[in-house]
Amino acid sequence: MRLTRLRLVLPALLLLALAGVLSACGSSSSSSSGGTEAAGIPSEFKAPTSAPDSAEKGGTLTQLNEGDIDYMDPGAAYYQVTYSVTLATQRTLMGWPPNATQPAPDLADGQPQVTDGGKTITFKIRPGVKYSPPVDREVKSEDVKYAIERSLLPGVPNGYTPAYLADLEGFKQAEQAVKNNKTAAPDISGIETPDDQTLVLHLTRSSSIPVIQALSLPVSAPVPEEYAKKYDAASPSTYGQYVTFTGPYMVQNDCDVKVDTSNHTAEAQNSNCSGKLTGYKPGKSIDLVRNPNWTGDKEGDYRPAYLDQIQIQEGFSDPTSASQKILSGEDQVSGDFPPSKTVVQQVATTSKYNKDQMVAVPSGGNRYIALNMTKPPFGPGSGLSAEQALNVRKAVIANSDRTALRNTRGGELFGPVATHFIPPLIPGFDEAGGLQGPQGSEFDFVQNPNGDADLAKSYMEKAGFKSGKCEGSVCNVTMVGDDAPPGKDTATVFQHQLEQLGFHVTFQPVAHDIMYTKFCSVPANQPQVCPNVGWIKDFNDPQSILQVPFSGDSINPSNNSNWPQLDDPKINKAISDAVTITDENERAKVWGGIDDQITAQAPAVPWVWDNDVLVRSDDVNGVANLFNGEWDLAYTSLSNP
């Protein structure tokens, strides 16, 4: 998925912060696989991924957010910020305990069976899992089938289903059916439900690994058809206002659920209710309460669910004051914004707050600066051959001080400097070179994180610029980037770096969403440089981090996420072949190789493997979830509830 930190809106005048390079860090960037050390996080800021033994039930936690979740409807949920809510309120087929690097069965009763060379997947659904009031009934396998099918409706705009579940048999026919009837979910013949507890998926090719991973996304949260049908008939669907829940928590609805704080149970007060969510006020707040029908580990749920209630408050546009409110206050955690550089420095270098109130988690995402390979100077044209353009791109990467770029986000805590594209903790990371990156002379341009001016000069010469700097009208480049920090800072720093190499850069800052939907994601309007792009894994498989951003097959004219427009037939074929590898080790190896092939083409300047930085109040035992890089609301507890 596209990287987004629903960004800060208004900078504080009083607080002009410069990059807080943490002096007291002493991080060890040894490349060991797994663990947060791989992400370069110093041990004092390591996020706990399990609850302490002394954790107690009870209390209300407040999570402060800058923006809103994207959709309450799990069928449409796209951004990781929304997963904070879905991880706590829904039981998906496969789920993510906080410290898991691979999905664990949640609604599924055990790991699925993969047969037929990876083309048939059989899930057993746990019996006894019930929906929240007012639906109240047990979950059946038909509900998961319906959940997947409804995500084809245009009223349930799901970006993942066509990307990862298109290999289901009958998928194309289902898409056609939707064209004719937009008000009812189509039938996908490749999903079978022989009985209430069994779900069988038939694929047209052996892409079982990405399919199973994709079924850890919210789209596999069960949806009862008889309840949701009428809402899905509206255009767009209004199910998002009536969602029903299977997880330990639910969003408050008109059944008026009351939590008994003495024995930590919940009960609906109103039996005459429609299920309309009263606890979701878009842009304002989300009220989560215990789900009265959740039975916990009796039905195999690994979540402890300590808190009685959670309130997500939105609209905190200034990260400095919001972070300080959390750090000085009680019972609060941060949501979708990192602390500002000022606060990071405050926590790291002063004793105003405890150091362990600030933690970092790898987000599973990368950030890079895309160089448009379809036009000069980063692509052939105006007298530049493809070979020369490649050398120009290599020169640009060699010249860039990627540490400086990384530091515009706030310093080492925000992630190690990237040397290729697969982030730490994703299979294929080590195979692609780990933290050091791919070795060998063909990768020399990416090996110095602080930039190598001489090397850059030599690449420019190879590209035909005898002076070692760009010459001529081909050096005029346009860059469209964020108009607010920190994106704007990153773009500005890069602009200087380009100018060192002789380019004339016109920087056009625009609002974040406009940058994508009007410029960088529209090939016809795309400038030479898009500095504020990146990608987050959809799940822990390298396909989800490399396919869409770098395969030529995924370039499309109006919503393109392959920003460099890399279209190398060898890489394209390697990618589409690697989708169907069913052996885990081989998969990691092959995708690691693809990562290096991509890096060798120098389509973009990789500059950081992002860490999410979170803060909490002192009395909160925060547990972070490695899947979405946020506090896990079903594992976090208060120290005096």
């Binding site: 998925m1 596209r2 809106v9 208004l10 504080a12 005048l13 009083l14 607080l15 407040t62 402060l64 923006g67 994207d70 449409a76 796209y78 245009p154 009223g155 705009p157 799901n158 970006g159 993942y160 066509p162 990307a163 937009k182 255009s235 767009p236 669907s237 209004t238 206002q241 006020k281 878009p282 842009g283 304002k284 707040s285 309130q311 408050q313 939105e314 609209g315 905190f316 546009s317 200034d318 004051s321 919001a322 300080q324 409110k325 000085s328 206050g329 625009v510 609002a511 974040h512 969403d513 406009i514 994508y516 939907t517 009007k518 994601s521 869409v548 499309n556 004219p557 109006s558 919503n559």
Partner: protein, 334 residues
């Protein structure tokens, strides 16, 4: 008088119509983020995007979209495909592109916060600004007068956002130096009306500060003009006591332009002008909502808030004009 009011109301409706048209035009002419793409997510294929666009009614010609919207707002009829795109009216402002919740619900949910913020601020800025203006005029050129005028200039020039942050860092109970008032986001925590009022104390002061300063200066100059009028001399010649001369005669005359200003200010604030105060303190009002809506190209929300805002401004202008006629008998029979 009745005919005058009716005429003004009709003009008000025409104005609302024109304002809506202008917003529509701006939205389509200026670059914004495509709401269909935003809704579709980053990996959506073009077909999905165009399906969403059609669902949102964005693939119809602009004039049709506009007339459909006007139909939904002002009439109960099902013209221009109203029932397929959000339902019929009247007073149906469509659904948010983002959350698909009715815009009217969103706005009515946000208005009380802005309303309470504005109401309290009005009280404070009148209480702070008017006495200062009167006293400064009476003690013109004294040390007190000069001090208040310089101070007021400082408050007018200080950016609201900065002032808000300073207030928080001085007085907020969580992050401030002196722990008195509730801090950021306390409005969201407040359950009762009184708790909400308490949470708005700092925002009231901050929002009132600059306005109070403006009103003080304005009233001061209005008073100085009035003080030299002949009828003030007559009042004194009648033997009226100084305090009565000031309050019943001078202030009574000087206050009328303030009334006009007040009506305009209230209308503007209810239309979303309190955005900065709402942002600093995280008050979920219409000001903050419209900025968020603009950033994600949520046209129905933008339209709805602007229309509500225009309505408030038109209404308050009308109220002010009627009040003015009540206050100044000379303008009554126009």
């Amino acid at each position: 008088m009745l005919r005058y009011i009716v005429r003004r109301v009709l003009w008000g409706v025409v104005l609302l119509f024109l304002v809506s048209a202008v917003i529509f035009l701006i939205f389509y002419v200026f670059p914004n983020a495509d709401p269909a793409k935003l809704r579709a997510g980053r990996q959506a294929n073009p077909r999905l995007i165009s399906q969403i666009r059609e669902q949102l009614g964005l693939s119809d010609p602009i004039w049709e979209q506009f007339l459909r919207y006007m139909t939904q707002v002002f009439t109960p009829f099902d013209w221009f495909g109203a029932s397929q795109h959000g339902g019929t009216g009247p007073l149906n402002f469509g659904n948010s592109f983002q959350s698909n919740t009715p815009v009217k619900e969103i706005i009515l949910d946000r208005l009380p916060a802005t309303g309470l913020l504005v109401a309290g601020a009005v009280v404070f800025w009148l209480l702070m600004g008017l006495p200062v203006g009167i006293i400064s005029a009476i003690k013109r050129r004294s040390a007190l007068d000069r001090t208040t005028m310089v101070t007021s200039l400082a408050f007018i020039s200080a950016p609201v956002f900065w002032l808000g942050l300073v207030a928080l860092y001085l007085f907020a109970s969580d992050v401030g130096l002196i722990h008195i008032f509730p801090g950021i986001g306390s409005y969201l925590d407040a359950d009762t009306f009184l708790a909400k009022c308490w949470s708005l104390f700092l925002p009231w002061l901050v929002l009132a500060a600059a306005t109070a300063a403006i009103y003080a200066r304005y009233l001061r100059s209005s008073m100085i003009d009035v003080m030299s009028e002949d009828y003030i001399r007559t009042a004194r010649a009648k033997g009226v006591g100084e305090r009565t001369v000031i309050m019943r005669h001078e202030v009574r005359s000087a206050i009328t332009p303030i009334v006009t200003l007040l009506g305009l200010d209230i209308g503007l604030l209810l239309a979303g002008n309190a955005i900065l105060t709402e942002s600093v303190f995280n008050i979920p009002g219409v000001g903050r909502e419209i900025v968020v809506a603009i950033n994600r190209s949520d046209l129905p929300v933008i339209q709805g808030i602007v229309l509500f805002g225009a309505f408030f401004i038109v209404t308050f202008n009308l109220i002010v004009d009627i009040a003015y006629a009540y206050l100044d008998p000379r303008v009554r029979y126009q």
